[in-house]
C-alpha cells in the first residue's frame, strides 16, 4: 500500500493491446450506426420521408422516434430529453434519425436521401436572452447565513461586479462510443464508454421496452471521461441499442470528433453577479452572489451542478454573512453536463475575483487577503451551509507553499521586472481550493463489489466504478492485494459489468476509490474470515497436540497465511485455497459501502453534505506580452493534499492533469456559437486544449506530507476533481500581469477564459483609461 505501482493496464497501453469499444473484434454481421441530427436550434418537424434512405445500398435500418419500442426519453433526473426528436428539435446536434448500414459511407449516402421538413422557430442562444425571456428551467434556489444587507450596509468598503465564465468541451481522446450485441429473445449486451453503466442499463432497457435483467452493460475502460460520459454516454448506447434491436445484428456507433463536439453538452457557462463588503484589513464581512447557469436544452444534471456551485462559492474563505441565489436557465444549445469540478470551478472563479478585487482596492498582496480570510481551525470554521471544516489544512499548505515557492522573493522580482519593462509584464498569484467530497445527492453515496477467489489462488475483483484513466482499478487492485496479503499480480480487476455488481452509482464526484475501495475491502474481509476459519481448522487438525489456533490468529502476509502467535504454523495462500474448497466454503463474496456521517436538508439549506474536504494550493507566474496579449506560463508550484496517498505516482499525475485541464478552461479553450446556434469551435483546429508546449516551463508538484485523512480508506484522500480548480492560479496571475500595466491602480476588465484577445482588450482599455485619467487612481 501507499506505493507507486504502474496503472493496471499500462503494460497493455504501451503495446497497443488495450481494447476500447472501437477496437473490439468485430463479427461479420457488424453494422455501423449513424445519427442524423438537427440542423436547427429550434424548429418544428413538419414531415419526413425515410423511404428512399431505407432502400439505399447497404442500409439495413433507418429509424425515427416512431420506431422506438419503449419510452422515448433519456433524462437522468428529469424526463425531458427525447432519445430521438419527435415533434420538434431544441438544439443543433439533437438526434432525429438513426441509420444502420454495412459501412459508414453507406450510412452517409443514405442520410442524404432523408427528406425532412422543418419550420424554424425563434431560438434562445445566450444567457442574456434566456434571462430576458425568463426562460428558467426550474425555481431559483437560495442559501444564506446572517444578514447580508446589514453586513453590506455597515461595511467600510463595498465593491460589486459581474463575471462571465465560459463553457468547455471535455475533449476526452476517445469519442463517445457503444457496441450493442443481440442475445436470445430480449437479451442485449452493451459495450459502452459510460461512467454510469447502471444508468446506461436502465435507459437502454427503457427505450427498448424490456427489463433491466435483459440488458447487460459492460465497460472495460474509458478513453477519458471527465464527466462527459456520466450521462451523455447513455445516448450513444441507446441509439446503438435501438438499431441493434431493429436489425438483429451487432451495431456500433462511434461519434466522429466534430459530431461529438456538436452533439454533446459542455461545462455550464455562468454569469455571476457579486457584491462584497469588507474592512480595511481586507476581512470579508458580507458577500452576495447571484449565480446564473446556462443549462442548454434539457435538465441533465444542471440542478446538482448548480447546487455544488452554491456549496463552493465560499471556496476556502469564511464569510460571516452570505447570500447565494442561483438560477438555471434553458437555452437552445446541447444540454450541458457534468465536467470535472461540477459547478465548483465557476463559483470559485467568482470568489477568487472578489478576493482579488479587495486586494487591489486596498493595495495589498492578494495572497495576504486570502490568508486573512481562510476558514479558521477553531473558530470561523463553519460553512454557509452549516458544515464544520474539519481537518483544515489550508494554513499548513499556505505556509509551506509560500516558502517552497519563494513567493515573497518572487513577488519582489515581479515588481522589479514590471517597473523595468514597458511592454512585458509579469504576474504572480496563489489560489487555494477547498472541495467537498461526496455526491450531494446523498443516496448516490453507496458502492458494491463482488470478489471471487479461484482454486489456483488468484482473485477476480468486480466493483461498480469505471476506469477512465484515473487509476481507480489500480488502487482497487492494491487494496485487494494488501488486504489478502498477496502479490498484486494475483489480483485482476474485471471490466465493470452490471451483471456482476448491480445498481451502482456513477463514477463521479471524485468518490470512485473512496467508495468502491471500501466495498472491495468489505468483500475481502468476509472472504478472509472464511479462509481463516478453514486454515485455523487445518492447522489444528495437522497438529492436534499443539496449542489451538483461532481464526483471529491467522495473518495474511507475503502470500502466506500463518498463526501470528505460532508463525511456524503456516501455509501458502495458493495452497490454502483448495483446502477451503474441499471444506465446501464459498470463495465468492459481495461487499457494500455506504458513506457514513453525511446528510443534507435541501429545504433548510443546512447539513453535512460532504464526508470530508480536499485541499490544495497553487502559485503560478506568467509573462504577458502587452502588445499581442500572448501569455507564457513560467512556473507553477502546487502543494496538494492527497492524504496518505495510496499511489503517489497516480495521484501526482491526476494533480498535474487536473491543473492543466483547468489551465485550458481558464486560458485557451473558448467555445463559440454563431447567431443560428451552430458550434463554431467544433474541431481541434478551432478549439485549443493545452498541448505539451502550453504547460508551465517549470512545473513543480508536491503531495502534502503527514496528511492522514481519517475519513477515507487507508487514510487516503481523493484527488480527481480538486486540482482542476488550481488552474485559477494562472488565470489570476494573468490578471495580475494585466493590472501591472496600470500599476495596479485600476481594476482591469476580465473574463474567463483569458484568451489572448481578452488579455489584449483588457490591456488596451487600461491604457486608454490611463491616458484619460492620468493622475488619479481609479477604483472600478
Amino acid at each position: 500500500m501507499h506505493q507507486q505501482i504502474p496503472h493496471e493496464s499500462a503494460a497493455l497501453h504501451v503495446t497497443g493491446e488495450a481494447l476500447y469499444i472501437d477496437d473490439l473484434p468485430s463479427s461479420p454481421s457488424l453494422l455501423i450506426g449513424r445519427v442524423v441530427y438537427s440542423p436547427y436550434a429550434h424548429a418544428r418537424i413538419v414531415s419526413y420521408d425515410l423511404t428512399k434512405a431505407r432502400e439505399a445500398p447497404g442500409v439495413v435500418a433507418v429509424l425515427s422516434a416512431k420506431d422506438i419500442p419503449g419510452h422515448n426519453q433519456m433524462g437522468p433526473v428529469v424526463k425531458d430529453e427525447p432519445c430521438l426528436a419527435a415533434e420538434g428539435v431544441t438544439f443543433i446536434g439533437q438526434a432525429v434519425f438513426l441509420i444502420a448500414a454495412r459501412t459508414d459511407a453507406q450510412c452517409r449516402a443514405a442520410e442524404k436521401l432523408i427528406d425532412v421538413k422543418y419550420v424554424p422557430l425563434e431560438a434562445i442562444l445566450t444567457l442574456e436572452e434566456a434571462i430576458a425571456a425568463n426562460n428558467l428551467l426550474g425555481p431559483p434556489r437560495r442559501m444564506q447565513r446572517g444578514d447580508v444587507e446589514v453586513a453590506l450596509g455597515s461595511a467600510p468598503h463595498v465593491l460589486k461586479g459581474e463575471l462571465r465564465t465560459g463553457a468547455a468541451e471535455h475533449w476526452y481522446l476517445e469519442t463517445q462510443a457503444a457496441l450493442c450485441v443481440p442475445g436470445e429473445g430480449p437479451e442485449m449486451t452493451v459495450y459502452s464508454s459510460s461512467q454510469n453503466p447502471s444508468e446506461t442499463q436502465k435507459l437502454v432497457a427503457e427505450v427498448l421496452g424490456v427489463k433491466k435483467k435483459d440488458v447487460v452493460v459492460e465497460v472495460r475502460r474509458i478513453g477519458g471521461g471527465f464527466g462527459g460520459k456520466e450521462t451523455q454516454g447513455n445516448h450513444v448506447a441507446c441509439w446503438s441499442a435501438l438499431l441493434c434491436r431493429a436489425t438483429g445484428c451487432p451495431v456500433k456507433i462511434r461519434l466522429f470528433r466534430d459530431e461529438d463536439m456538436i452533439m454533446t453538452g459542455k461545462r455550464h457557462r455562468f454569469l455571476t453577479r457579486y457584491e462584497v463588503g469588507f474592512d480595511d484589513q481586507g476581512k470579508l464581512l458580507g458577500v452576495k452572489f447571484e449565480l446564473n447557469s446556462d443549462a442548454g436544452a434539457a435538465t441533465d444534471l444542471s440542478f446538482a451542478i448548480m447546487e455544488r456551485a452554491m456549496f463552493h462559492c465560499d471556496n476556502a474563505y469564511y464569510v460571516p454573512a452570505i447570500d447565494v441565489t442561483a438560477r438555471v436557465w434553458r437555452t437552445n444549445l446541447p444540454s450541458n453536463t457534468a465536467f470535472r469540478g461540477f459547478g465548483g470551478p465557476q463559483a470559485m472563479a467568482a470568489m477568487e475575483t472578489v478576493i482579488d478585487r479587495v486586494a487591489r482596492y486596498l493595495h495589498k498582496d492578494a495572497a495576504e487577503i486570502r490568508q486573512a480570510n481562510f476558514y479558521g481551525l477553531e473558530q470561523d470554521n463553519v460553512t454557509h451551509y452549516g458544515q464544520v471544516v474539519e481537518n483544515n489544512r489550508l494554513h499548513t499548505i499556505f505556509d509551506q507553499l509560500m516558502k517552497s515557492s519563494e513567493y515573497a522573493a518572487r513577488r519582489k522580482a515581479v515588481q522589479e521586472f514590471n517597473a523595468a519593462n514597458e511592454f512585458w509584464k509579469k504576474g504572480l498569484a496563489l489560489t487555494p481550493v477547498k472541495f467537498g467530497i461526496s455526491f450531494t445527492t446523498s443516496h448516490l453515496n453507496q458502492a458494491g463489489a463482488l470478489v471471487n477467489i479461484y482454486s489456483d489462488g488468484t482473485v477476480l475483483v468486480n466493483h461498480g466504478g469505471t476506469e477512465m484513466g484515473q487509476g481507480l482499478h489500480t488502487k482497487i487492485q492494491q487494496i485487494a492485494a494488501t488486504e489478502l496479503g498477496i502479490s498484486i499480480d494475483r489480483v485482476r480487476v474485471n471490466a465493470t459489468n452490471t451483471s456482476k455488481v448491480p445498481n451502482t452509482s456513477p463514477t463521479a464526484a471524485s468518490t470512485g476509490t473512496d467508495m468502491n475501495g471500501m466495498a472491495v475491502k468489505h468483500a475481502v474481509e468476509t472472504l478472509k474470515d472464511r479462509i481463516a476459519e478453514c486454515v485455523a481448522a487445518l492447522f489444528n487438525e495437522r497438529d492436534p497436540s499443539a496449542v489451538h489456533t483461532a481464526k483471529g490468529d491467522c495473518c495474511f502476509e507475503s502470500d502466506v497465511i500463518f498463526d501470528s502467535r505460532h508463525p511456524e504454523r503456516r501455509i501458502g495462500f495458493a495452497e490454502a485455497i483448495p483446502q477451503v474448497i474441499v471444506r465446501r466454503v464459498s470463495l465468492s463474496a459481495t461487499g457494500f459501502y455506504r458513506t457514513p456521517g453525511i446528510g443534507w436538508d435541501k429545504t433548510k439549506g443546512v447539513g453535512t453534505p460532504f464526508r470530508y474536504y480536499a485541499f490544495g494550493m497553487a502559485v503560478s507566474e506568467v509573462l504577458v506580452d502587452t502588445l499581442t496579449g500572448a501569455m507564457t506560463l513560467l512556473r507553477t508550484d502546487i502543494l496538494h493534499d492527497a492524504g496518505d496517498s495510496i499511489n503517489p505516482g497516480i495521484d501526482t499525475g491526476q494533480i498535474e492533469g487536473g491543473y492543466i485541464q483547468g489551465l485550458g478552461w481558464c486560458t485557451t479553450e473558448e467555445i463559440k456559437w454563431d447567431s443560428a446556434g451552430n458550434l463554431m469551435t467544433h474541431s481541434p483546429d478551432t478549439y485549443k486544449i493545452p498541448t505539451a508546449k502550453d504547460i508551465p516551463i517549470d512545473f513543480r508538484v508536491t503531495l502534502l506530507e503527514q496528511a492522514t485523512n481519517p475519513n477515507a480508506i487507508y487514510g487516503s484522500k481523493t484527488v480527481a476533481e480538486p486540482p482542476f480548480m488550481l488552474g485559477l492560479s494562472t488565470w489570476m496571475a494573468i490578471k495580475d500581469a494585466i493590472s501591472a500595466v496600470a500599476n495596479h491602480t485600476v481594476e482591469p476588465e476580465y473574463a474567463l477564459p483569458a484568451t489572448n484577445e481578452v488579455i489584449l482588450l483588457s490591456i488596451e482599455k487600461l491604457r486608454n483609461m490611463m491616458k484619460v485619467n492620468a493622475s488619479e487612481p481609479v477604483h472600478a
Binding site: 507507486q4 504502474p6 496503472h7 493496464s9 499500462a10 503494460a11 497493455l12 497501453h13 504501451v14 503495446t15 497497443g16 493491446e17 488495450a18 481494447l19 476500447y20 472501437d22 477496437d23 473484434p25 471535455h170 475533449w171 476526452y172 481522446l173 476517445e174 469519442t175 475502460r221 474509458i222 478513453g223 477519458g224 471527465f226 462511434r254 466522429f256 470528433r257 466534430d258 477512465m468 484513466g469 484515473q470 487509476g471 505516482g649 497516480i650 501526482t652 499525475g653 491526476q654 498535474e656 492533469g657 487536473g658 491543473y659 492543466i660 485541464q661 474541431s683 481541434p684 483546429d685 486544449i689 493545452p690 498541448t691 505539451a692 508546449k693 504547460i695 512545473f699 508538484v701
Partner: protein, 159 residues
C-alpha cells in the same frame, strides 16, 4: 467507384502485398483491414496525434496518409515497437513514470517520442515538449510523459 490498387509495403518488419482502395486512409487500413487497432482514431483530421505511426522513421499522422502512399515504404506501428516480449526502453520508461492514464494517446505519444529519440539521443526538455506537441493528451498534463521520454536510458534507446 475507384479501382483498388495493389501495393507492397513493410509493416512492423513484415512484408505485405495489399489490395487497397485509393481513398482509404492508412489509419483505416491499419485498423479495419490489418487489425492493428493500437493506432487510435482521435480526430481523423491530423490534429490530435493519436494515430501517429512511423513512416520510414518519420512520425506521421496516419489519418492524413492515403493507403497507396505507403507503397514501397516502411511502416512501424505501436504493435511493432517492442521486440517480441521485450519492451522498448521508451515503453519501460512510460510504465516507470506513470505516463499512462486513460492510455488513448499513449501509442501515438510513444511513436512521436521514438521518432525524436532516433534523431536526437539526448534531447532537451524543450525539444521533447516540441516533439510531442502535436500529440494531444487530456489526462496527464504531459509532465509525466515528458519525464518518461527524457529519462529513457540513452544506452538502451536503439531498438
Amino acid at each position: 467507384m475507384m479501382k483498388s490498387i495493389v501495393i507492397t509495403t513493410t509493416i512492423n518488419k513484415r512484408k505485405h502485398e495489399l489490395e487497397v482502395h485509393p481513398n482509404t486512409t492508412l489509419l483505416d487500413l491499419l485498423r479495419d483491414e490489418l487489425g492493428l487497432t493500437g493506432t487510435k482514431r482521435g480526430c481523423e483530421a491530423g490534429e490530435c496525434g493519436a494515430c501517429t505511426i512511423l513512416m520510414n522513421g518519420q512520425a506521421v499522422n496516419s489519418c492524413l496518409v492515403l493507403a497507396p502512399q505507403i507503397d514501397g515504404q516502411e511502416i512501424l506501428t505501436i504493435e511493432g515497437l517492442a521486440d517480441g516480449d521485450k519492451l522498448h526502453p521508451l515503453q519501460e520508461s512510460f510504465l516507470d513514470h506513470d505516463a499512462v492514464h486513460c492510455g488513448f494517446c499513449t501509442p501515438g505519444m510513444l511513436m512521436s517520442a521514438k521518432s525524436l529519440l532516433d534523431r536526437n539521443a539526448s534531447p532537451t526538455e524543450l525539444e521533447v515538449r516540441t516533439a510531442i506537441s502535436g500529440n494531444l493528451c487530456r489526462c496527464t498534463g504531459y509532465q509525466q510523459i515528458v519525464d518518461a521520454v527524457l529519462e529513457t536510458e540513452p544506452v538502451k534507446r536503439e531498438t
